[in-house]
């Protein structure tokens, strides 16, 4: 099959859009993977509308009947909390003629009324009723409701959805990445993170995989971010140098991390990972030591994870990104500051530091995004066709958890990403 030979059957069972076995090799991947609309359509079916995708956080719908508008790729998803406390993921599409039911980004309502003809739904997705019921032969005659994301999974307050009615559980999907989420939430003196600062939405005219691969690429910071490292006297650059003891780890299922703990342990300073000291945040430090006792020292030294959870959740220490693919060459990054429950002193600092770094004007992310867009333009050129992902392959090791580990600047995370991607797009396809 060629790339232009797009299968047209409408079910998820259509054949591969491309010969992925040939396009994805162990040490290089083909440029068409980033540019082909047919491959993008195939990815929506095989990845975004099937595997577990991060949608939102329970703290965004803290109260009964709260809702927020979220997304799974191009799908407009309403995340609701019904009166009984359950979390639901509903599709923003009226069962009558398909109008959008919700227009606001967030609100509190036990039910949704479509503005077009007034059909009304519970926030569980169930139909409540429709106006002028005589036209349907009376009340309660229609067995219709809002579309649902069939599986909803929650881990440590992080809400994921899967369009596949069955398949691996969320915990199976997260696998080794669970520990990284655990490492984030334990930095709260109450063991919970809160997503309350709102999101910046940053458009990148680039394929989503360029973003996903870059998130744990330890090779680029010294180049892309040299400008800010030099003027802000940042220590981050050194973490991603050839001499760094930090490692890149493929966590399985496409997840990966830059594990900076070896560097933070070497430095041995509580809160050094955040560029501060306990004296500067005395209430937070006291609360952490009160909660965790002797373990607090290690928790405060090791800091927050830098982990990419396949396919769309990136936690970069104090920042949380989600990746929303909209076309082969268009992606939106949603980003916010992580906030720790019970840590107002720390939260203010994290928010302001995050604002300086991320988003359309961020002193880091504006430059990453410039690279994504130039990269997208570059991969459209015809030669040499391939992107190289071999860096560090000769010095990889398997650690005691059985995971592949490379150096701080190695492309171990990308290779892990592609291994899982290839599986989902070939032998692991939905039948």
């Amino acid at each position: 099959m060629t790339l232009t030979d797009i299968p047209t059957s409408s079910s998820g069972a259509r054949g591969p859009a491309a010969p992925y076995d040939e396009l994805i090799e162990a040490q290089r991947v083909h440029g068409s993977l980033y540019t082909s609309p047919a491959i993008f359509a195939d990815e929506l079916e095989q990845i975004w509308y099937r595997t577990w995708v991060y949608v939102g956080h329970v703290s965004e719908i803290a109260e009964p009947n709260d809702y927020v508008r979220k997304n799974i790729g191009p799908q407009d998803v309403i995340m609701t909390r019904s009166a009984d406390g359950e979390v639901h993921l509903l599709l923003n599409r009226c069962a009558h003629r398909g109008n959008l039911v919700c227009e606001a980004d967030a609100g509190n309502s036990s039910s949704f009324r479509c503005p077009y003809h007034g059909w009304t739904y519970r926030n569980t997705g169930d139909m409540l009723g429709y106006p002028f019921h005589g036209g349907y032969g009376g009340r309660g005659k229609l067995d219709l409701g809002l579309g649902r994301v069939p599986r909803v999974g929650i881990y440590q307050g992080f809400v994921f959805g899967s369009f596949a009615p069955d398949g691996p559980t969320l915990e199976e999907h997260l696998g080794e990445a669970k520990g990284e989420i655990d490492r984030l939430v334990r930095l709260s003196p109450e063991g919970e993170v809160e997503i309350t600062a709102g999101f910046l939405k940053h458009k990148a005219r680039a394929n989503w995989k360029l973003l996903a691969e870059n998130e744990t690429d330890g090779y680029h910071p010294q180049f892309v971010h040299a400008s800010i490292f030099s003027v802000a006297q940042s220590g981050i650059g050194a973490l991603y140098g050839e001499k760094s003891t930090a490692v890149t780890r493929a966590l399985g299922n496409g997840h990966s991390e830059n594990d900076l703990r070896p560097e933070f342990r070497r430095i041995g300073a509580p809160l050094g990972w955040f560029g501060t000291t306990e004296e500067k945040v005395p209430e937070y430090s006291a609360a952490m030591r009160a909660r965790y006792g002797d373990a607090a020292e290690e928790i405060l030294i090791e800091g927050a994870p830098h982990v990419m959870i396949f396919p769309n959740l990136f936690i970069a220490e104090i920042q949380m990104f989600t990746i929303q693919p909209l076309a082969a060459n268009l992606t939106v990054q949603h980003v916010t500051a992580v906030q720790f429950k019970g840590a107002p002193e720390m939260n203010k600092r994290m928010l302001q530091q995050c604002i300086g770094s991320v988003g359309p004007a961020g002193m880091l992310l504006a430059d990453d995004t410039e690279m994504y867009e130039r990269n997208q333009a570059g991969v459209a050129e015809l030669r040499p066709e391939w992107l190289d992902v071999r860096r560090g392959v000769h010095r990889e090791e398997i650690d005691e958890r059985g995971l592949t580990v490379g150096g701080a600047t190695d492309e171990t995370g990308m290779r892990g990403f592609w291994k899982h991607y290839k599986h989902l797009m070939t032998e692991g396809r939905a039948q």
Binding site: D105, T196, A197, G198, F199, L200, K201, H202, K203, A204, R205, V224, A226, S227, I228, S230, V231, A232, V332, V335, T336, A337, K348, L351, Q352, C354, I355, G356, G359, P360, A361, M363, A366, D367, T369, E370, M371, E373, A377
Partner: protein, 172 residues
């Protein structure tokens, strides 16, 4: 930094300025930003300057919510120095920029006596990636420092600040 910065006024003689002088200041500020004249632009700030581009809500709580830009005076300086490294990739090469500032209106005095001025703007940014159209509302606070107008506050309420927007790495 040059001329603009000295003391923050304490007991607030409310700043009074002629609208023509205000306009001249705004146009100059816009031209320095359009032409990437970073030092000249930075010199327009007072020492307590605040450069703010809110997100999602023009009146968001800037201490609790994400902003597109939320620079105090020291972060303004960092932003400028980042440009000056010549390796701020999203501005190498510079975006070509031209903005129109209009509907200039003196709104009154802020609590600290600074003169508050509103204006609308439309800006075209041209880069290899695309042309982007930016528009919104500026709110400035102005005061006279050493005989020259300086700004202590510039807020940029983009009309599309709740939507996904492109990289905005120039001075808006």
């Amino acid at each position: 930094m040059t001329a603009a910065a000295t003391a923050i006024p304490t007991d607030a003689e409310p700043t009074q300025l002629d609208v023509r002088d205000v306009e001249q200041f705004l146009y100059r500020e816009a031209r320095f930003a359009d032409e990437h004249r970073y030092d000249d632009w930075e010199a327009l700030w007072t020492q307590d300057g605040l450069y703010w581009v809110p997100a999602n809500d023009d009146d968001a709580d800037r201490m609790a919510k994400m902003s597109i830009i939320h620079d105090n005076r020291s972060r303004i300086a960092t932003r400028i120095r980042q440009f000056q490294t010549g390796r701020r990739h999203s501005q190498v090469p510079h975006s070509r920029l031209r903005r129109v500032v209009s509907n200039v209106e003196i709104l009154g005095n802020a609590e600290n006596g600074d003169l508050e001025v509103g204006a609308n703007f439309v800006l075209v940014e041209s880069r290899e990636r695309s042309n982007e159209l930016w528009a919104g509302r500026y709110t400035y606070r102005l005061r006279v420092v050493d005989g020259a107008i300086a700004m202590s506050y510039k807020k940029v309420a983009l009309v599309d600040n709740a939507r996904a927007i492109a990289t905005l790495s120039f001075l808006i």
